[in-house]
């Protein structure tokens, strides 16, 4: 993650425990830095419930107070339904706390491992780096 997108991040752990490769259905994981999780607090702008992967769009303020727009994916709707997610779980303006892995290339894109919205926490797509198998 470049300084530009350092945001309010907390490195959760180092070991490569993120996700077994077998979790990924359509797309490879090589674009991500799976060695660490990044925690951000943001505001939802859009929630796309779609194939091949659902996307959450949200804004996060970085260390200088500048807003950075992020796009983060999870799996497809059937997989996320199985994890308790739904088409209506986010709406624009919702405040969210997200643990995600982010792209190696510095683009503000990621994959959500865990999200808290409206006081409820949901497991996302793949484990949080540094946490063992549940």
């Amino acid at each position: 993650m470049s300084a530009k997108f350092r945001v309010m991040s907390i490195v959760l752990g180092l070991g490569i425990l993120a996700v077994p490769a077998t979790l990924f259905a359509h797309h490879g994981s090589a674009i991500y830095d799976e060695t660490k999780g990044v925690t951000v607090h943001g505001v939802v702008t859009e929630w796309l419930w779609a194939n091949p992967h659902c996307l959450l769009e949200f804004d996060v303020k970085d260390d200088q107070g500048k807003s950075v727009h992020w796009t983060a994916e999870v799996s497809n709707p059937p997989d996320m339904i199985a994890r308790g997610w739904s088409r209506k779980m986010f709406k624009p303006g919702d405040e969210v706390t997200i643990i995600m892995i982010v792209a190696k290339n510095g683009e503000p894109i990621g994959r959500i491992a865990r999200v808290t919205v409206n006081g409820k926490t949901y497991e996302g797509f793949g484990r949080v780096p540094g946490e063992g198998t549940k």
Binding site: P20, T22, A25, H26, G28, I31, N51, E73, E107, I109
Partner: protein, 264 residues
């Protein structure tokens, strides 16, 4: 009445723990020559198979190396997969399923295998797949396999009962534009696939699948070895999971195409 009370008292602890098949694990007998029902892989990830055929994943291990003919090797090199150890960067892959072309057969059994409904009629077995809501027909009316058929995305399938609990399907006439699996393994129009469905018990089904394509592979290989399915309730609703070109384009615009593997 008193006797009934005594019986109730004596049996109450048993009833509270386990008296019925559902909780004792005892199985209702499986119906003969019947695969009908909704079946889901016991382990979801074994159905998804992101790195290629479950029993022959493209993971670089010597035991999973396939043996190609020169023609097969050239075909393999032309397939650029976005998954597995040889994955290429987004934008460089050419997986036909990623532009919503049909997966076809046998990839339908080797990628994104989810809850699948099997319907039987007196002349055919129909498989209704969750992924992309496609179906396949397996003829059971005694016909022979077609000779030199025109290729189709899902080929031609003929099935026979080997015994009361084992159903064997042969398929040919598949379209060589499709990939065999998510790792981009190729096949030719000479491909012949053998599936063996074995109903282990009322609630359990196993699928084994063999690939035989002498034009591409120097020997046949086992793609699935007893992939295990569990019977779902009859009122289970198959989820909707479609490859939508517009959704795919939107995903790529917003996310997929921005994730090059090159570090800035």
């Amino acid at each position: 009445m008193a006797a009934l009370h005594v019986f109730a008292i004596l049996t109450a602890p048993l009833a509270a723990t386990c008296l019925f098949p559902a909780c004792t694990g005892a199985q209702t007998a499986a119906p003969k020559r019947d695969l009908s029902g909704i079946w889901e892989p016991v382990r979801a990830l074994e159905g998804i198979q992101p790195n290629g055929a479950l029993n022959m994943p493209a993971d670089g291990k010597p035991e999973h190396e396939l043996h190609y003919t020169p023609f097969g090797l050239e075909l393999l090199k032309s397939h650029k997969s976005a998954n597995g150890p040889n994955e290429v960067a987004p934008g460089e892959e050419n997986d036909p399923a990623h532009i919503c072309d049909p997966q076809g057969f046998p990839r339908e059994n080797l990628f994104e295998v989810r809850a699948t409904e099997i319907v039987q009629t007196p002349v055919k077995v129909i498989m209704l797949y969750t992924y992309n809501k496609v179906w396949r027909v397996i003829w059971t009316d005694g016909r022979e396999m077609p000779k030199d058929p025109d290729p189709k995305w899902f080929g031609y399938s003929v099935g026979k009962w080997q015994d009361d609990y084992t159903f064997v399907i042969e398929t040919n006439g598949t379209d060589e534009r499709t990939w065999l699996d998510n790792a981009g393994r190729p096949h030719s129009e000479d491909l012949r696939v053998t599936e063996v469905f074995h109903r282990v018990d009322h609630d359990t089904l196993e699928l084994s699948m063999t690939i035989n394509d002498p034009k591409v592979y120097t020997k046949s290989w086992t793609a699935l070895d007893k992939l295990r399915f569990r019977l779902k309730p009859a009122n289970f609703e198959l989820p909707e999971m479609m490859c939508s070109p517009s959704e795919l384009a939107e995903y790529n615009r917003r996310h997929g195409a921005r994730g090059t593997t090159t570090k800035k």
